[in-house]
């Protein structure tokens, strides 16, 4: 009850017109930054920190938080409309959202994303108020064995991402794991598969990889046809139908759960919840074979998970001072610049500020919805630009976004390389999602396992004897067993490779 009273006080401050204006400016700037391919929330928030210099801490942090979740939503727009993820976490939205856009239903996809983001973000913020501390303490029980087991659960969902062939999906997944091996070995510090190239010591960045696999490959595929009439269907409706809303209700609920729970665990990152949510939706669907053709559940679930994660990731930051992702690390820096040090004493020392920021998260989520629903026709109008011109502009933004990550032209070359790989995979009907998911999970899983074995001095039973990791391993094994059985049953009688 005390939390609710403090929250109401926070609303009293956050609803002041000046603070509302800062939240509005933050949401708008965040959405615009998020729309630019490659410039994700972390880079966007970092880029706009100077805009808050000279402000008081409260408006500065309200504005930065609004930029953060505005950018999370903005990344969806280009994923849906031009198959180029605005940020890496939106990559999975390309699979269904872009197919919806090609069928003239891009507006509905964006509207469902906005609604799902609003619901996911709001519920996660409620969690921040009601159960932040106990849940964070629970999340802190995640040591390396639990982390390894959790990542294995994520990896087990790869079979759910398979299209028409389990072998092709597994090849893609193993290739992703191998690509993740490139760079410095995180435990012993030995370089692996770098071939003397300094640029490879950090491995391949996820942004150049997804920009290449999805964005550049899409442009190459479309360039093959002479007319390049990519959007042959006229945009029919900009608002979701009643059936769309009904089909999205459960995915939104599940996406909220996935995003919220993973947001509590530091180090998971924003991409894992979206991919896991997509895999969950495909597994839960009565028509999984229709995934990849524009299923709204494949947009609603991941987009909800994305924003639920974004808001939940603030919980370990606020309560323990642990930034769980690059973006929350930037947020932490911004808080510290303003003399606010996140951690267990934050609520005592800066209670008024924190509750005002939490209240502004609610307001920001509503603002984002109000801001984005009317803007959908404007975003969809992008598709009226002739594709030959649009594709060139997308290439320019990809180059800027990729280059700006490390100020490196090498990353542009990486994007081109993965563009060619994505082009070949599309031709061969090899799914891209398993590669991206395993590329992210691989290093986390390997580090978790090797640290676990270091803890137990090489005794692998540490993974099974700890209750939490043991339970997660059982779940992973069950998922692998059932999905493998399903996959083989599905292709029984068929002969696809």
């Amino acid at each position: 009850m005390e939390s609710l009273q403090l929250l109401l006080d926070g609303f009293g401050t956050a609803l002041q017109p000046t603070y509302l204006l800062y939240a509005l400016v933050g949401c708008t700037l965040g959405t615009l930054i998020g729309v630019l391919p490659g410039i994700g929330p972390a880079a966007g928030t970092a880029m706009l920190i100077p805009a808050t210099v000279g402000m008081n801490p409260t408006p500065a942090i309200i504005m930065l938080a609004a930029i953060y979740y505005g950018a999370m939503y903005g990344g969806t727009i280009t994923s849906v409309l031009i198959n180029t993820p605005g940020e890496a976490a939106s990559a999975i939205t390309c699979l269904e959202g872009y197919q919806m856009a090609r069928k003239g239903r891009g507006g509905a996809a964006l509207a469902i994303s906005a609604i799902g983001s609003f619901i996911g973000g709001t519920i996660a913020t409620m969690g921040l108020v009601l159960v932040a501390l106990p849940l964070t303490r629970f999340a802190l029980k995640f040591g390396p064995p639990e982390f390894f087991a959790l990542m294995l659960v994520g990896l087990s969902l790869v079979t759910g991402l398979a299209g028409r062939s389990l072998i092709r999906a597994l090849l893609s997944a193993v290739l992703g794991l191998l690509i993740a091996q490139i760079g410095i070995d995180l435990v012993l510090g030995a370089p692996r598969f770098t071939f003397g190239q300094m640029e490879l010591l950090d491995g391949f960045g996820i942004v150049p990889v997804v920009m290449g696999l999805f964005g550049i490959a899409e442009i190459m595929i479309n360039a093959e046809s002479p007319s390049q009439n990519v959007f042959t269907t006229k945009m029919t409706t900009l608002i979701p139908t009643r059936k769309d809303l009904k089909d999205s209700a459960l995915p939104i609920a599940r996406g909220t759960g996935v995003g919220f729970l993973l947001g509590l665990i530091p180090g998971v990152g924003a991409i894992v919840p979206t991919f896991m949510s997509y895999a969950v939706e495909k597994r839960m669907s009565k028509t999984p074979e229709r995934f990849g053709t524009g299923m709204i559940a494949g947009v609603a679930g991941p987009e909800t998970a994305n924003n639920a994660y974004a808001n939940a990731a603030l919980i370990p930051l606020f309560t323990l001072g642990i930034p769980g992702s690059p973006t929350t690390a930037v947020m932490m820096g911004a808080l510290m610049m303003n003399g606010v040090f996140p951690g267990p004493t934050l609520f005592q020392e800066h209670g008024h500020l924190v509750w005002t920021v939490i209240a502004s998260l609610y307001i920001g989520n509503i603002m984002l919805l109000i801001l984005n629903l009317p803007l959908i026709p404007m975003w969809v109008a992008i598709l009226k630009i002739p594709y030959s011109v649009l594709s060139v502009l997308v290439l320019v933004f990809c180059v800027i976004g990729v280059y700006s990550l490390n100020n490196s032209v090498f990353d542009i070359g990486v994007t081109l390389g993965f563009g060619l790989l994505g082009y070949a995979f599309r031709k061969l009907d090899i799914p891209l999602a398993p590669l991206v998911l395993t590329m992210i999970l691989g290093p986390l899983m390997e580090t978790g396992l090797r640290q676990s074995l270091e803890m137990s001095q090489g005794d692998i039973s540490i993974l099974f004897t700890r209750p939490l990791s043991g339970t997660l391993l059982v779940i992973a094994l069950l998922v692998i067993a059932t999905s493998t059985f399903r996959a083989f049953s599905a292709v029984k009688g068929e002969t696809q490779v």
Binding site: I39, M47, L48, R164, I167, R168, L170, L171, V174, L175, L177, L178, Q181, D185, V187, L188, A190, R192, F193, I216, I219, M220, A223, E224, S225, P226, Q228, Y387, S388, V389, S391, V392, L393, L395, V396, V399, I400, Y403, S404, N407, V409, F410, I412, G413, T415, L416, G419, Y423, K427, L428, D429, I430, E446, R450, L453, E454, G458, T495, Q496, V497
Partner: protein
């Protein structure tokens, strides 16, 4: 025509890749006193990749495969357009540090517009100037994103 031959070729490519990775990973420490070394995971992953590649080749050879999609091979003009994109991004990688962002992008955009769609002169000029000088102003000056400059401040 079926997808038999493309999948056989893909399987062979994956098999060669797996052999190469397994060979390279043997150069790395396989196991240390604290558990698996840097070569442990790549070696086993390479074996799994190799096994899957062999399965792909066997399935493609001995079972019926999908028919080849009509658009599997593009026309000559289609491949030339794809080649133009590859060439443009290769040139961007090679030239951006030398010529700077603005001049490189100006040239690349004009080339790509010509190669992909040949819009009118006005559109070409507008898009190329906006995509090069306009983007540089927006990102470098307003958003402080560092983009390379070369001679004469370009």
């Amino acid at each position: 025509m079926s997808m038999k031959r493309p999948y056989q070729i893909t399987g062979v490519v994956f098999l060669i890749l797996a052999a190469f990775i397994a060979w390279e990973s043997l150069e790395l420490q396989f196991y240390s006193y604290i558990g698996p070394g840097p070569g442990f995971f790549p070696f086993w992953l390479a074996l799994v990749l190799g096994t899957l590649a062999v399965l792909m080749i066997l399935q493609a050879t001995f079972r019926r495969t999908d028919p080849m999609p009509a658009d599997f091979f593009a026309s000559r003009a289609g491949y030339l357009r794809v080649g133009a994109i590859v060439l443009a991004l290769t040139a961007t990688t090679a030239l951006m540090k030398v010529l700077g962002f603005q001049l490189t992008m100006l040239g690349i955009i004009i080339f790509l517009l010509f190669a992909l769609g040949r819009p009118s002169l006005v559109v070409t000029l507008l898009v190329s100037v906006a995509g090069s000088f306009g983007c540089f102003y927006l990102f470098n000056r307003l958003l402080r994103v560092p983009l390379p400059t070369a001679f004469f401040g370009f």
